[in-house]
Each structure stands twice: as structure tokens, then as C-alpha cells.
Symmetry: C2
Subunit: 187 residues, 2 copies
Amino acid sequence: MQQKLREHIEKIVPLTDDEFAFVRSHFTIKSYKKREFLIQEGKSVKYAYFVVSGLLMLVYNNESGKQHIVSFAMEDWWESDFLAYHTQTKATMSLQCLEDTDVFCLSLEDYQKLCAGLQKMEHFFLRKANAGHIGSQQRILSFLTSNAKERYEQLLKRYPSLFQRVPKSLLASYLGVSRETLSRLAR
Amino acid sequence: MQQKLREHIEKIVPLTDDEFAFVRSHFTIKSYKKREFLIQEGKSVKYAYFVVSGLLMLVYNNESGKQHIVSFAMEDWWESDFLAYHTQTKATMSLQCLEDTDVFCLSLEDYQKLCAGLQKMEHFFLRKANAGHIGSQQRILSFLTSNAKERYEQLLKRYPSLFQRVPKSLLASYLGVSRETLSRLAR
DNA sequence: TCCCCTGCGTGACAAACATCACAATTTAAA
DNA sequence: TTTAAATTGTGATGTTTGTCACGCAGGGGA
């Protein structure tokens, strides 16, 4: 499990054993069962999470109780309600397990200590944040340029494994269409 | 003009005069006229830009020539085709002036030198990247949760000045609706 | 001055999509 | 095993939005 984290970081910045020991000391490990919540709307957000195995969804529930999936987080992804995390405010979104999931947890304080104590890690997180920003912008672009069917096909192409792992109704909620429409598209 | 850049950075990390001189030495200044391009689709992306004054739009043109606005960049914003910039590939988007605009330009090489030479600046860019990521995620959320009219009202509320500064057809293109639909909504 | 281009509004119609209702099937829990 | 809940497909219908067409007003350049 440690190894997973180390390999992930070392794709961007190589670490000595001592450095990794330092990094490692800032994280805690937790395991969650399917349907459990890592973050609940309205509560404070203690951690950012690195997914070792399993699958999470980041969900926003609007006033009328409709759920909108902002993101799926699979193996090797970082996830949190980052707005609430960084500003230390209450979560507006929830982070929930779609499968049994193992994560590394990083508190904001440890995140800051880690960045301050090891420039490599600040660099690592900068790269991750840039990638996250770019990824979100691509998703915006797909909303601007593509209709439901095209967005569905893009998702299918990019994350084929999702179609085995999550119900179609959740994919619809990620794509921004009703489950009925998605069902009719997938033909 | 220098002062603008310094104040912007110092909102996040305080700098000594020497440090700012070091920072400053990595940037060049350019001025563009309305309708000029800072980045053109298909060409390489030399710089990330910090907007001192004026207004830019980041645009994606699809195969059929329809234009989609990914982002407006006003005073104090950083903008580029960040995917092409960071990966040193050809631009898939264009960055164009909507008003006469003054910018600081930062090449990727200078960006890397700046981050490596002054941890404060790596920290600064990390904060900016996180903010950018969070901002994009909010925009995704507005696509998921809101119809055209609601997105229009959110934009109106958040960036009221845009309505004086850019034609409605471009706002439509940012919101992901046709200019006709926007025209009918705004009543 | 005249003219052309841009921006904006609006009517008519078509396409995309949401919603409601119901049924069939699969999955999970008791 | 039995029962309840979750998942999926599909028809009918209404709403939202896009597309095409047209007219009008204002501003800048020849």
C-alpha cells in the first residue's frame, strides 16, 4: 500500500528513502465500505484523499434532492471537496464510496507542512493541481461543444471500465442528462 | 505596471525587493490591440499570460467553425492554453483580445526556473492552480445543476462588468447556448 | 455622406432532452 | 429461499433549446 503512494509520487518527483519516510509520516490510511461517506455535505472536510483502490464519487445534491456527479475518483486519483478543504469551510459536496475503497488521508495542516518541508512535494502538488485544472477545463469544453450522445461516447472511450463498475443512472448524472435519455442514447 | 504584478503576487506571498527583482526578470511585457491573437490554434504556445489591463477570451473552434468560449480573462487573471503550454504541444484553443490588453508573459522555461529558484513562487503558482481547478469545477457544477437561464443569472451576478464589455453573442458562447436563446432569456 | 459590418431582437419550426408512468429484470437483504 | 429494493428499458407527452430567416439600429471607414 505504501508502495502505491510512493510509485505514484515518483512518477513526478523521485524520492530518497528518507524523503519518502518523511512524506509517509504525514498520511494516515483508512478503509471504507461501499456506500460509506468520506465527506458529507455540511460537515467539515478534514482530508484530501489519495485512492489506492476502489472507487469514489464526488456528488453535489441540489435543493430538490437531485444528485449531480462532479467526478469519479478511481485508483491513483486525488479527491476531496477542495474548496471546503482549502478554505476550511463546510462541505457543499459529498464524497461517497461506490466500491470498498482504501485511501491515504492528508489533512490540510499536514499538506502545508509537507509542502513547506520538502519542495519536491510542493512541486508534485503543483503538477497535480495543473493537471486537475486542465482536466476540468476539458470537461467544460465537452459541455460546450458536445451533445449528450457525444459526451457519452467520450466518456466511454476515456474510462471504459466505469461502464462495468457503476450503474448507468450515475453515468447519466455525471454527463448531465436524465437516466432515460442515457438509456436511449446507448443504442 | 510592475507594481500590479508585485501586488498580485504579494496577496499570496510577501516578497523582498531582491526577490521581486528576481521574479520580474523572468517576465516580458507585451501590449495587444483589440482582435489580436496571443495564442492561435495550431501554433505553439510560448507563454502563460498575466493580464494587467484589458480583456481576453480563450476560445475553442470546433470542426464546423463554431466558437466556444472556455474562459474570459480580465485584469489580474492568468491565462493560456495550459495543456499546450505545459506539454509543449500545439494549441487547440486560441487566446484573443476583446479589448486593448497589457500582459506579462512567462515562458515555460522561465516558469520552471522561477519555481526552482524561489520556493515562494512555486507556492504562489500552487495556490493559483488550486484556485483555477476549484473555479473550473464550479463551472462544471453550473452546467450540471442549472439550465441556461440560471447559468445566465449566475454569470450576471458574478461578473456584472462583462455585460458592459462584451457582446451578448459571446456571453452566449460562454454559457453554452445560442445567441438567440440568450436574447430570449434576458427578459 | 454613404455603405457595410456588427450586434441584437424575434417569429416559425425542428430537434434534443426532461418528465411521468409502467413493466421487466437483476441484485441484495432478511 | 423469499422478499424487497435497485436498476434498466421504453412509450407518451411537454418543455427547452437550436436553427433558419428576417428586420432594424448604430458605428466606423472609404
